[in-house]
C-alpha cells in the first residue's frame, strides 16, 4: 500500500521496528482468491532462506507452477472440492484451477499484509508512491478458497487445516458469512484450532454498516477489524450550468470530457424500467442519454457497472450519487468513462437543479490525488457495527484500520473495475472494504510477532487494542462518517490501530486456551458444542462458576438491567444495577506503577479497585476489578460509553467500555 505506512507512523519510526531477521521468520497465511505471483509485491530480493519450520508448498495447477513461489511467496495452495461439489467442475476458461488469482482481491489483501517494497507504484498515477505491506519482510502463504461462485466452508476448513499444518504464524481472512453460533461457524471453529497452535487470526468485520448488530467474525479468539479512512482523497468536481460546483471522488483516467458544459440527465428520466435510476444493465434508453452526462443512483448493482451501462448506452459521463443508505461516504472507483461519485446531500442538490432547469448542463473536473485530508481517520459508513450479535458481552469490532481507497497489488487477469469489458491491466488497484483493513492488522500483527516472538495471539491483539487511538490527527474523537458525529466503541472498537505504540504497550491482557474454554462454559455450551471447537472431551466443572465478566478481554461490554427509579441503586455492588468485571494485566515493560483514570457518560459510573498497580518485574501479573453502576434510568437497548486507562507516565493502556441496558 502507499500512504498507509506513513499514516500509521511506520515510515517515520522504522528504526523502532524489527529488521528483516526477525520478521522474515514470520509467515502470514492469507485465505482469499489466490495470488498473482508476478506482482512486484512478491519480489524476494534480499530475503534469506525460507524458515526451516515452514512446511508449506507451492501447488501446481492452471498457469501455476512451483517456480511461481520464491523466498517471499513461500506457499500457494488451492481448495476447490467443496466448491465443485456444489457448483460443478470449475470452468477453467473463466477461472484458474490453481492458486492463481483471477479476481485481484487475494493479491490485494496479501500484498497489503506483507508485500515487498515497490517504488513507483500507482493506479493510473493516483495514490502514487512507494508501496509496501505492513510487514514487508514477512513471508506470504496464500490459500485460495474463494472462487467466482463464492467461498465454501468445506474448502475454508481445508485451507485452515493446511495452514496450521504448514506452520503459518498469522492467518488473515477477509471474508465472512451470516451470523451463526461459534460451533456452527467454520471460520470460528477453524480459527479456534489455529489459536490453540499460537496463530493469530485476523478477520474483516464486514461491510454491512452502519446498521447495528451487523458484525461478522465475532468469536473472541478472532481479531475483528473494522475500516477507517486515510488522509487521502481523489477529488473530482461536478460543475453545474447554474455556476455551482460540488465535490466528489473518482479514479477515472482517460480522455477528458469536451471542454464545454454537457447536457445532464437523470437516469430515472431516461428509462422505461422502474429501477432505471440505478443504471442497471439494459435499462437506459440510448436516444435519451447519448452525448450526455447521466446522473445514476447508487445501489443494487456495482458502482463501476453503472458507468459501463451509461457508456454502453452512449452517455459520455456519469455522476453517481449516494442515497440515504450511504450518506456522505465517498468511495473512489476507476470508472470506464468520466465519472464521479458524490454524497447524498450533493446528489440531492444536483437533482434539484436538474429537475428545475429546462436545459441542465454539467461537466466534471478530475483533480488527482490529495493528501492531508482532515478529519482522518474517520469510521467508514460501510464498516460493520456492534453490538456483537452473538455474545453481546464481548465488545466487537476489536479495532479499525485503513480500509478506504487502499492501493495494493492486483491481478493482471482482470481490470481494475473487475468488469469483463474492462480491458485495462494494472499492477496496483485502489479498492475499499473491511477486506482491506483486515490485512493491515494481519501485517502489523506479523511485525509485533517478529518483535515479540514469545507473545501469544491474545497478547499481540491486546497490544494493538490497548494502544489504539480514539482521537484523530487533530486530537478530536474519531468521527463516524455515517453520522458526522463522534464514533463509539460499537463503531471503532478500541480505536484506530497505532502500531508504533503497540510495539511497547506496557501492559497486556493475555488469554490462553483454557480461558477460551471457560468462556464457552460461561456461555453454557454443551460438551458436544465445546468439542466441536476444542476437539477434546473438555467438560465444564459443574461446581465452578464461569463468568464472561471475568474473561480477560482488553475491552468491556457491560450489560445492565433496564432500570426503573425504584431499582436505582445503592452502588454497593450488590444490587442488580451493579456489575463487576475482573481483569488481569501482565507487565511486558519495565518495573513501574500504573494509575487508573476513568471516563464515563452521565448514565453510569465506574469504580476500579485497586487504583494503582505496581510491577517490580517483567511478566508480573496484577488483577483489578471494575464495578459498573447505573446512575440513570435507561430503557432497554440504551447504550452508553466510557474508557478505562492505566498509565505509568510512559505508556497508556486503554480499554473501551460499552454499557448496554437490557
Amino acid at each position: 500500500t502507499t500512504r498507509t505506512p506513513s499514516f500509521l507512523g511506520l515510515d517515520q519510526n522504522s528504526a523502532m521496528f524489527p529488521e528483516s531477521e526477525s520478521t522474515s521468520d514470520v509467515i502470514v497465511g492469507v485465505l482469499d482468491t489466490g495470488v498473482w505471483p508476478e506482482s512486484p509485491s512478491y519480489d524476494d530480493t534480499g530475503l534469506g532462506p525460507v524458515p526451516s519450520f515452514w512446511k508449506g508448498e507451492c501447488e501446481v495447477g492452471t498457469n501455476f507452477t512451483k517456480s511461481n513461489c520464491n523466498r517471499k511467496l513461500v506457499g500457494a495452495r488451492f481448495f476447490s472440492k467443496g466448491y465443485e461439489a456444489t457448483l460443478g467442475p470449475i470452468d477453467q476458461s473463466k477461472e484458474s484451477k490453481s492458486p492463481r488469482d483471477d479476481d485481484g482481491h487475494g493479491t490485494h489483501t496479501s500484498s497489503t499484509a506483507a508485500g515487498s517494497v515497490v517504488s513507483g507504484a500507482s493506479l493510473f498515477g493516483y495514490a502514487a508512491g512507494t508501496a509496501r505491506g505492513m510487514a514487508p519482510h514477512a513471508r506470504v502463504a496464500v490459500y485460495k478458497v474463494c472462487w467466482i461462485g463464492g467461498c465454501f466452508s468445506s474448502d475454508i476448513l481445508a485451507a485452515i487445516e493446511k495452514a496450521i499444518d504448514d506452520n503459518v504464524n498469522v492467518l488473515s481472512m477477509s471474508l465472512g458469512g451470516g451470523v451463526s453460533d461459534y460451533f456452527r461457524d467454520s471460520v470460528a471453529s477453524g480459527a479456534f484450532a489455529a489459536m490453540e497452535k499460537g496463530i493469530l487470526i485476523s478477520c474483516s468485520a464486514g461491510n454491512a454498516g452502519p446498521s447495528s448488530y451487523s458484525l461478522s467474525n465475532v468469536a473472541p479468539w478472532i481479531t475483528t477489524v473494522g475500516a477507517g479512512t486515510l488522509d487521502r482523497d481523489f477529488p473530482a468536481y461536478v460543475s453545474l450550468g447554474n455556476g455551482k460546483n460540488y465535490s466528489g471522488v473518482s479514479l477515472y483516467k482517460g480522455d477528458p470530457l469536451p471542454g464545454q458544459m454537457i447536457p445532464l440527465i437523470y437516469a430515472g428520466n431516461a428509462t422505461n424500467a422502474t429501477n432505471g435510476n440505478l443504471c442497471m444493465t439494459g435499462t437506459l434508453i440510448p436516444e435519451k442519454v447519448a452525448g450526455k452526462i447521466v446522473l445514476c443512483d447508487r445501489g443494487v448493482n456495482p458502482r463501476v457497472q453503472k458507468g459501463s451501462v451509461v457508456k454502453t448506452a452512449g452517455g459520455i459521463g456519469m455522476v453517481l450519487t449516494n442515497t440515504v443508505a450511504n450518506g456522505e461516504e465517498l468511495v473512489a472507483d476507476a470508472h470506464l468513462l468520466p465519472a464521479t461519485g458524490v454524497g447524498e446531500t450533493t446528489g440531492e442538490a444536483i437533482k434539484s437543479y436538474l429537475f428545475s432547469d429546462t436545459n441542465p448542463t454539467a461537466t466534471i473536473f478530475f483533480e488527482g490525488t490529495k493528501v492531508g485530508i482532515q478529519p482522518s481517520p474517520v469510521v467508514a459508513a460501510f464498516s460493520s457495527r456492534g453490538p456483537n450479535p452473538i455474545t453481546a458481552r464481548i465488545l466487537k469490532p476489536d479495532m479499525i484500520a485503513p480500509g478506504v481507497n487502499i492501493l495494493a497489488g492486483w491481478s493482471r487477469a482482470v481490470g481494475p473495475t473487475g468488469l469483463s469489458e474492462d480491458a485495462r491491466r494494472v499492477e496496483f488497484n485502489i479498492i475499499s472494504g473491511t477486506s482491506m483493513s483486515c490485512p493491515h492488522v494481519s501485517g502489523l500483527a506479523a511485525l509485533l510477532k517478529g518483535a515479540h516472538p514469545d507473545w501469544s495471539p491474545a497478547a499481540i491483539r491486546s497490544a494493538l487494542m490497548t494502544t489504539a487511538k480514539v482521537v484523530d490527527k487533530n486530537g478530536k474523537l474519531i468521527e463516524d462518517v455515517s453520522t458526522g458525529k463522534p464514533s463509539t466503541p460499537f463503531d471503532h472498537g478500541a480505536g484506530h490501530v497505532d502500531p508504533v505504540s503497540a510495539l511497547n504497550p506496557g501492559l497486556i491482557y493475555d488469554l490462553g486456551v483454557d480461558d477460551y474454554l471457560y468462556f464457552l462454559c460461561a456461555l453454557n455450551y454443551t460438551a458436544d458444542e465445546i468439542s466441536v471447537l476444542a476437539k477434546n472431551n473438555f467438560t465444564c466443572d459443574s461446581g465452578k462458576s464461569y463468568s464472561i465478566n471475568d474473561f480477560n478481554y482488553p475491552s468491556f461490554a457491560v450489560s445492565l438491567p433496564a432500570t426503573t427509579d425504584s431499582t436505582l441503586g445503592s452502588g454497593d455492588g450488590t444490587s442488580s444495577d451493579t456489575v463487576k468485571h475482573t481483569r488481569t494485566v501482565t507487565n511486558v515493560g519495565s518495573p513501574g506503577t500504573y494509575k487508573v483514570s476513568i471516563s464515563t457518560s452521565d448514565a453510569f459510573k465506574v469504580s476500579v479497585n485497586p487504583q494503582e498497580l505496581t510491577f517490580s518485574q517483567t511478566n508480573e501479573k496484577k488483577t483489578y476489578t471494575a464495578t459498573f453502576t447505573a446512575i440513570s434510568s435507561e430503557p432497554t437497548d440504551a447504550n452508553a460509553f466510557g474508557r478505562i486507562e492505566w498509565t505509568d507516565g510512559k505508556h497508556v493502556v486503554g480499554s473501551p467500555i460499552a454499557v448496554s441496558w437490557t
Partner: protein, 82 residues
C-alpha cells in the same frame, strides 16, 4: 452437482473411535458408508476440526447424526469476500 444433496461438515469425537479402526480416516469413511452407498468424503480434517466433509441427502445426514461418535452434522455455509 447431484440433485437433492448438499455438503455437510461432520464433526467427530475422535476419542470415541472404536478400537477396530487403526486410523480415524477409515472410521470416518465407514461412518459415512453406513448411511450412504454413494457419498464420498471431500476432505478429512484433523487440525482445524476432527471430522470430514461430504455430500449427501438430508435423510442421510439425519441418519449419520445418530451414529456412534458423531458430534454434529452441519450444512456447509457459503462465505463472501468483504
Amino acid at each position: 452437482a447431484s440433485t437433492g444433496t448438499r455438503t455437510y461438515i461432520i464433526h467427530m469425537a475422535k476419542s470415541r473411535m472404536p478400537a477396530v479402526f487403526e486410523d480415524h480416516s477409515h472410521w470416518y469413511d465407514s461412518s459415512l458408508k453406513s448411511v450412504s452407498g454413494s457419498a464420498e468424503i471431500l476432505y478429512t480434517y484433523d487440525n482445524a476440526i476432527h471430522g470430514f466433509s461430504a455430500r449427501m441427502t438430508a435423510e442421510e445426514a439425519a441418519a449419520l447424526e445418530s451414529r456412534h461418535g458423531i458430534v454434529s452434522v452441519m450444512p456447509e455455509l457459503k462465505y463472501e469476500l468483504h
